[in-house]
């Protein structure tokens, strides 16, 4: 007993002293140019305030690669990284490795965020991470080209989009051979899962696996959604769209070589940048409907504190600062990163810089979650099986009907004895 008391007081003393003296926190965040800059700048502001130091660890750009790296770090119980940037679909996968922030962060601070996102970060009552920014798929379009070809508004349905894209593409190809109508994320990875979820839901084809864990993918509407997307490849989208990720699509759109693009909100600020050929000519709209509704996939990133961190108190302080209103406002203005704090959507400075934030508010709040909740630790396998099936349809290896039937078998196999 005495020993235990001594040990506790000793560790408390060490903890206290570590809080008192400046520590170095390692923060893992994205490595795309602007994202990294904003991450570094935010971390530096916190460091200046608290007298601590922050080292920024540059994670791989693609979310699948990032997860692989994080899992290795966490499985080894490595203390190298204190704060991780987590994708919205990961909390179920990684919950056991993160500090429960409930109780360590004031409830008022937690409740300022969108409830849906806080729910997505809560696993069995444990708050795994604090939301940093939210994401939802958007349709970007060229306002100048729409006007040039006599269209008054952004397309409301996929059929309309295909017609408009075709007309603009045919016209523009006369002077620019590299021009294409519509670019999106067709590479076989998590990004394709997001895009294809939007098609599925917009056609009323369900969400692959429903909230109860039943496999619902094998239905006619889902097949129709995939066939529709496949019809775009090589007609309004380049053949190589099946190798594009977010950055590849943005590169083409920003070079002025596409009329429409599906991407996340971050593309807005970059599209208005100095090196962008389409600055001032970009419009943003909700993604078209396939007959059932308009659907955007919920994305977004959170910040969690590793249980293996040696400086948890400082790490929590960093997370609270970065996820706080002040920092979210800066990021919204400089990078068009969507705040997760409700009140910021009424902020004049933010709306002046990102006019679409206000009008597309409902897109962000009603975004469709990927089935990471019901499938838990097996989500990644589900997502890969899904994106592979979609990829097969896009590449013409299979028809939609055949692909969703095969996918249902694959998912049953992954489900095995249960999610």
């Amino acid at each position: 007993m005495k020993k235990a008391v001594a040990l506790i007081s000793l560790s408390a003393a060490i903890l206290a002293s570590s809080q008192a003296s400046a520590v170095t926190i390692t923060l893992a965040c994205g490595a795309v140019g602007q994202e990294l800059e904003l991450c570094k700048a935010g971390a530096a502001r916190w460091a200046k305030k608290t007298g601590n130091t922050v080292k920024v660890f540059e994670s791989p750009n693609l979310t699948n690669d990032r997860l692989g790296l994080y899992q290795q770090q966490l499985a080894a119980k490595s203390s190298d990284i204190d704060v991780y940037q987590l994708d919205v679909v990961w909390p179920g996968l990684l919950a056991q490795h993160f500090v429960d922030l409930r109780g360590k962060v004031p409830a008022s601070e937690v409740n300022a965020h969108f409830k849906g996102i806080i729910d997505a970060n809560t696993v069995n009552g444990k708050l795994v991470a604090l939301p940093w920014f939210t994401d939802a798929g958007l349709l970007y379009y060229r306002t100048d080209l729409l006007k040039k070809y006599g269209f008054k508004a952004a397309p409301k349905t996929w059929t309309e989009l295909a017609l408009m894209a075709k007309k603009i593409q045919d016209g523009e190809r006369k002077t620019n051979k590299a021009f294409s109508g519509f670019v999106w994320q067709g590479k076989n990875y998590e990004g394709l899962t997001c895009d294809a979820m939007e098609w599925l839901v917009s056609f009323g084809g369900g969400t692959i696996v429903d909230a109860k864990g039943n496999i619902t993918i094998n239905n006619a509407q889902a097949a129709k959604a995939l066939d529709t997307a496949a019809s775009w490849v090589k007609s309004i989208s380049p053949a190589g769209v099946t190798t594009y990720d977010e950055e590849a699509a943005r590169g083409i759109f920003q070079a002025g070589n596409a009329a429409f693009m599906r991407n996340w909100p971050y593309a807005w600020a970059l599209g208005q940048g100095k090196d962008s050929k389409v600055a001032g000519k970009i419009g943003v709209a909700p993604l078209p409907s396939g007959g059932a509704r308009n659907a955007a996939t919920l994305g977004g990133w959170q910040l969690g504190v590793s249980s293996y961190s040696k400086n948890q108190a400082a790490a929590i302080s960093l997370v609270r600062y970065l996820a706080g209103p002040e920092e979210q406002k800066i990021r919204a203005i400089q990078g068009a990163y969507n705040p997760t704090i409700q009140s910021l959507y009424k902020d004049k400075d933010i709306l002046a810089k990102n006019p679409f934030f206000g009008s597309l508010y409902s897109v962000f709040t009603s975004a469709v979650a990927r089935p990471s909740g019901p499938t838990g630790a097996k989500y990644n396998q589900v997502s890969q099986a899904f994106s592979t099936a979609v990829s097969d349809v896009l590449n013409g290896k299979m028809k939609g009907q055949q692909a969703v039937a095969k996918l249902a078998t694959d998912l049953a196999r992954i489900k095995g004895r249960g999610w």
Partner: protein, 309 residues
Amino acid sequence: MTVQVPTPARPRRTRGIEAARARQALWLLLPTLIAIALVAGYPLYRTFYFSLFEANLTNPEQRSFIGLGNFWFTTQEGVALGFLQDPKWWGAVKNTLLFTVVSVFLETVFGMIIALVVNSAFRGRALLRTAMLVPWAIPTVVSAQMWAYLYNDSFGLIGRGLLGGQAVLANTDTAIWALIAVDVWKTTSFMALLILAGLQSLPGDMYEAADVDGASKWTQFWKLTLPLLRPALLVALVFRSLDALRVFDVMSVMLGNVNAASTSMTGYARQALIDNQLLGMGSAVSVAVFLIIMVIVVIYVTAFRVKFD
């Protein structure tokens, strides 16, 4: 019972010295053997061990023994769970073997031609020998990325320029040939170097004699060079085949990890182990990759009597 056979003293003493030397050698080797056991043996043992368990990568402590269930298991509802029942695994095996056979064959043929050219005396030979190693010296990750740009359908020199906007990497069926091209471009020079080393050990007077006897260059190549080059060629073949069988980086960089899993055995193993966190399944796949490569090595070494010394 024992019969004292009088043996001559001399050979026995020699054997004694040899035995002592062998013992000494063993002691000197011991640190290396321990190091190998620690850095190679132990992980290998753990891989075999985990292949018999159902375990999660992020939490290996919680595991349950399922025997060969990772390899072959059908549930009562008829759902096949073993990876040997997964068509994607067999697709990966097929693609890896295709990749290995075609790329090693092409590299050997081209490597031989380059080695023969570089072996003859001409001005700037030394420069050429250095220059031909450049592709091989570039890290695979870098060259793979470079080729991925070349194959890009909207701005790539090959994808846009030669193929007129086709996306060869989009489909795993066409991508495998694009990958073979990259591997041949990269590793032919290594093959040429190995063959060149073999060529330079061939005696020059043999060719003079052949010339005197009136043998054509063609006959000289088939009757003299090729048979004498066989040992060097086989060692090179074994090296390259093993390398090609465990190919990973080119696929991973150029196709992304999800598609790489259907083009290479190691990619499939990585996906199971890292992306899907299935420690047991991933280990089982790794064991299978190990066994496949081992069988191929044994076939090579016994069928062709390769001597490594």
